[in-house]
């Protein structure tokens, strides 16, 4: 099994686990103080932390092997500013 496939399988497993632990339901949305949006950030921060690490190494490998090249098309960052190098 390739690394890509392993990562995808792991990801699906995590999502399914979260789907099961957080079933869809109805709530008093008109009284919702938004606590779910604050609590979920901690969960998402954990998931994103793992994804960031994996992506960092994966991108470097692809660049090193020459599978990833810069595109000549208008990049999404160029929608925001003329010179993406100035980005924070």
């Amino acid at each position: 099994m390739s690394k890509n496939k392993t990562f995808f399988t792991l990801w699906v497993a995590v999502i399914v686990l979260l789907m099961v632990s957080m079933p869809n339901g109805y709530a008093s949305a008109y009284l919702d103080p938004g606590s779910g949006s604050l609590i979920i950030q901690v969960v998402i921060a954990g998931l994103v932390g793992i994804a960031v690490t994996v992506k960092f190494f994966w991108n470097n490998i692809l660049l090193m092997l020459g599978f990833k090249k810069r595109s000549n098309r208008l990049s999404d960052d160029e929608l925001v500013q003329d010179d993406p190098i100035q980005d924070a």
Partner: protein, 463 residues
């Protein structure tokens, strides 16, 4: 108009930090004492200067406190003017993307300066010379290590949900934002999106799981929190911002194959006819000397550019999100100035919405045009949409003093196509009928037949 010459703007009521007001026709913002420590940090931390250097935030100058509108005024500032305020339901896909990415870049920069965005509303972003710019100086507050992002839900509702719906289902979901002023509710978006959207890491987290977390915790007893609030490290917040940025960049929509994007005059004019039409538009616009032009039915902006390249502030309105998308990408690619492509259904223009119908203004309330361009448009309104010629004249004359309009007669192939499957009930739709209807509201200043064509171009001035 949304405010008289003097007084507070009706839309400026949600945030106690301050408000926008007019004084002697000039726009000011009052900053209240409650926001003083945040404002001071914005100015002293280097964040403000950094945002200005990058062109991400409207600049402002501090002015006399004597202009204060109430006792709790801390500062009065005069912000840089944005010539036209557009709304997210008028943006094409890439404009949504640009506004979302700008918001995230600002959030990242703010966190680096110990500040955080307390609002992530799409209405805080406007377009100047094609680029998105943040217009709410009071959206920044001091960041304390460990706090979550209070505006995370708003960002997901204003950007992630509508863009996912546009990208995965149908581009016309952008119009849904006019019905939901605080963004698309996540449970609604989750119920419409296809199952495969779960496979997109960002959407699975920021939209689907987020929506479920909302419904799971909505009924929490405020006296008995389910668990003690956990701290979120700054780096974790920055990771979430990075991931949101990847998610937004990963959402795509291709405009190439929409109904109108290839419609242009190409098959209505030969080369000489099109050149003559452009020359006439140029001549008529020069005669009227407008500072602002609204081009209705602009398609990808061929004629709008006759105005914008002369430094005239021009809005290129079109009903087709694909044409507007292609036009906007062209503006950004060539770093064009003075041209703003926006979506508008002239048969159902943007209404006034929000609290007391006063928060977001109708098209009429925002009109600042001196001249309207209505090229290859009248047959769509008169025949395609059954609007009597007299009403079209009245509508356009309410908007601007000058009108450059093209009359497309029944002999034209496009009109013949519109009439092909229906009974011709449009007995007044003739050149004489057109001139009769329009001279009730306008004086004909000039007119000329377009070469190699039955169409005629008019320069009209409101009576």
């Amino acid at each position: 108009m949304h405010s008289s010459k003097n007084g507070k703007l009706a839309s400026s009521f949600r945030d106690p930090s301050g408000f926008i007001f007019h004084h002697d026709g000039i726009l000011y913002r009052q900053i209240n004492h409650i926001y003083s420590e945040h404002y001071d940090q914005l100015m002293s931390s280097g964040l403000y200067q950094s945002l200005i250097d990058k062109g991400w935030l409207v600049s402002h100058s501090e002015t006399s406190i004597d202009l204060a509108q109430s006792n709790d005024a801390y500062r009065i500032i005069q912000p840089q003017i944005v010539s036209f305020i557009s709304y997210p339901y008028e943006w094409c896909f890439s404009q949504h993307k640009a506004a979302a990415l700008l918001t995230l870049k600002i959030q990242r920069l703010a966190l680096q300066h110990d500040m955080i965005l307390k609002d992530a509303s799409a209405y805080n972003v406007q377009f100047v010379d094609g680029k998105p710019i943040f217009i709410d100086t009071l959206s920044f507050e001091r960041y304390e290590e460990g706090q979550p992002w209070i505006a995370y839900r708003q960002f997901c509702q204003h950007f992630v949900a509508p863009m996912a719906l546009m990208g995965y289902k149908d581009i016309s979901f952008g119009r849904m934002l006019a019905a939901h002023i605080d963004g698309i509710p996540l449970d609604l978006a989750a119920s419409i999106l296809p199952k495969r959207s779960w496979l997109k890491l960002g959407l699975a987290m920021h939209l689907h799981l987020h929506s479920r977390a909302q419904s799971r915790h909505a009924d929490n007893n405020p006296d008995k929190p389910a668990s003690p609030p956990r701290k979120l490290k700054r780096q974790s917040l920055l990771n979430i911002v990075d991931n949101l940025e990847d998610t937004i960049k990963g959402l795509k929509w291709r405009a190439d194959n929409t109904a109108w994007a290839n419609y242009y005059e190409g098959d209505s004019y030969d080369e000489a006819g099109l050149a003559h039409k452009k020359q006439l538009v140029d001549r008529f616009v020069t005669q009227a000397e407008p500072q602002t032009v609204w081009d209705f039915g602009a398609n990808t902006g061929l004629h709008s550019r006759i105005c914008s390249t002369q430094g005239i502030e021009t809005i290129a309105w079109d009903v087709d999100p694909g044409a507007v998308e292609l036009n906007y990408l062209e503006v950004r690619k060539n770093k064009e100035k003075h041209l703003l492509p926006l979506i508008l259904d002239l048969a159902n223009p943007s209404p006034a919405i929000g609290w007391a119908n006063d928060e977001r203004l109708s098209l009429f309330e925002r009109c600042n045009a001196d001249l309207i361009l209505a090229l290859a448009l009248i047959h769509h309104l008169a025949i395609g949409n059954n609007v009597p010629l007299g009403q079209i004249a009245q509508f356009l004359s309410r908007l601007a003093e000058w009108l450059v309009i093209e009359f497309v007669p029944k002999s034209d192939p496009k009109v013949r196509k519109l009439l092909a499957t229906r009974k011709d009930i449009f007995t007044d739709y003739t050149q004489q009928g057109f001139e009769k209807a329009f001279t009730n509201c306008y004086e004909i200043i000039d007119s000329e037949q377009i070469e190699d064509s039955d169409r005629r171009l008019y320069l009209l001035r409101r009576l």
